[in-house]
Subunit: 340 residues, 2 copies
């Protein structure tokens, strides 16, 4: 008999998630049926997108049902198995939940991973996983960066943004990153090679707009947007003609009851610009291509990435909220197997 | 000696243009120099875009200088000429101004037009002009309508919108038009072949959203946006995956000091949708192609278009403001040559 602990959604957050929106629930797992396998989860990916799944509104996935463990990408090892395709000891990953154990079966979202190809299994939740593939395909497919162009990235010190800046540099672009606080801005330049960094803190939209203009004197050809609100508006007022705006995330909006959106879409007409929403969901068939490229750049020292790994499922709430305060240092991951 | 009357910009409108933002100025035109020709303007195009040119903010054209006649597309005939390429009697059109006479020269924005190919010279300011080409290339190039898709058009009874709906029908789409008032909505169906009409008046954003959902039960694949604000937000919440949104105009915003923009751009991510600003400015090299297609559809009775022609330059302000009250019935044109 295995005791599982899971981080469940107790009620739908009203704005910013509160601790009592969630409940850590203990349960005894039933015996495995034929075809099933038991996964001991090790690493859970914490992502801004999860906030959207907690709401009861139209999205690209159904809302997380109340009482269910919070949906998450997870990585673990098969601990017991009645499925020959998933033998004991096999590392697996997939769309699971914030819980210590999960029961899987063939045809589900869980698939085997050869972790020997990467320095750490956690890399499959960061640079080689959805985060890395979002940066890679979002920038290259939708942004189509050309040498000499200027790329503006918000959330630039974040898991996706830090990679976007480095890929844009590899492609010969000038990169301007926006982040919160002097420390992060210093890291943008020293760690992620940004040509210029803008600290959004204490700046209203006019000041942000002026800061972007100064950091991007030739205008902005590509915006890779992770934040939204004033930051997006400031970027929109600095576009070059035929600019491409990739809306990857709008983290400033996820906890707000009244969305701000993009007030300066008039500039889309003026500059004949394109704004496109990006979801990595359709890209798994091309993950091999993206992971190969990212893996090579990592091996060559051209891409640096950071992982911020908190420990213990009892810390799930605090770890998740770091995404919104911006206090995480790299890809936010929760290790739910500290004793193993 | 020719006396010219011109409708000049006296000061920059603060929000909605007021009569005293403009001044009708009389001037005596100087003698023609070699290479110049005198155009007797007949028809002046009145367009929402002119409102944007009155502001002193970054746009795709410089602001209209204070004291200058308001920039406009114009159509007239050469009345006197010292340029063999523009003989007396030749019809010409181009980017001119709201004035009774203009002086042109080679290499300017004015070019000759063979008016015999259309029922009326005014058609070159409507179905065969920038308005028609905006509908044609905006919908077909950026919207890429496929048979069976649903196209949502705002400002659907307007000069551009009425054409967009009919082109979309020709391409086999379901068309839903949004307009203000029962009369216009009736015309959407009876005159422009829309499958469904939505009267935006008296509806808040939730009611608009519900109305779009009812009129587009299979979701919206293309939005052709001329209005913005609540109407755009209602459309955004009804998108299908990979939807295309063409931002052609945002007339609800042009007189507002605080832009609303698009609050529901979150849906761009959810639906992996694309929002693109459209300007017809780059399309003149393809106007022959577009005008040939539109001309053929008009001749075949597949496209109906309306022109709302007011008379006399002294009525320029009232005619222009009809665009914002929505009281015009078709393409707004000012005839500045009533006596000729």
């Amino acid at each position: 008999m295995t005791t599982n602990r899971k981080f469940t959604l107790a009620k739908r957050p009203d704005g910013e998630p509160k601790p009592d929106d969630f409940k850590l629930v203990e349960e005894t797992l039933p015996e495995l049926q034929d075809g099933q396998f038991l996964v001991r989860n090790h690493y859970i990916s914490l992502d801004p997108a999860q906030r959207g799944w907690m709401d009861d509104r139209p999205s690209y996935m159904p809302p997380i049902p109340l009482g269910d463990a919070v949906r998450a990408s997870a990585m673990g090892r098969v601990q017991a198995s009645k499925n020959p395709d998933f033998p004991e000891g096999q590392w697996v990953m997939g769309l699971g939940a914030i819980e210590e154990y999960s029961v899987g079966q063939s045809g589900g979202f869980t698939f085997p991973v050869d972790v020997s190809v990467a320095p750490s299994p956690t890399n499959f939740l960061s640079v080689l996983g959805a985060v890395g593939m979002t940066a890679y395909f979002g920038l290259l497919d939708d942004g189509k960066p050309q040498e000499g162009e200027t790329v503006l990235v918000s959330g630039a010190a974040g898991a996706v943004g830090s990679l976007v800046g480095q890929i844009a540099k590899i492609k010969g672009c000038r990169t301007v990153g926006i982040a919160g606080g002097a420390d992060k801005c210093a890291r943008l330049v020293s760690d992620y090679g940004y040509d210029a960094a803008i600290d959004y803190r204490g700046k209203d939209v006019a000041a942000l707009e002026a800061a972007v203009r100064e950091a991007a004197p030739n205008g902005v050809d590509i915006i890779f947007e992770n934040v939204g609100g004033n930051i997006l508006d400031a970027g929109l007022n600095n576009l070059n003609e035929k600019a491409r705006i990739i809306i990857c995330g709008l983290i400033s909006e996820y906890n707000s009851k009244e969305p701000v959106g993009a007030r300066n879409i008039w500039q889309l007409i003026v500059k004949q610009a394109t704004m496109k929403g990006f979801l990595v969901r359709d890209y798994p068939p091309r993950f091999a291509e993206g992971a190969a490229a990212m893996g090579q750049w990592v091996a060559e020292g051209k891409i640096k990435f950071d992982e911020d790994i908190d420990v213990g499922i009892e810390n799930a709430y605090d770890a998740f909220m770091k995404l919104f305060s911006g206090s995480n240092q790299g890809k936010m991951i929760l290790d739910v197997s500290p004793a193993d």
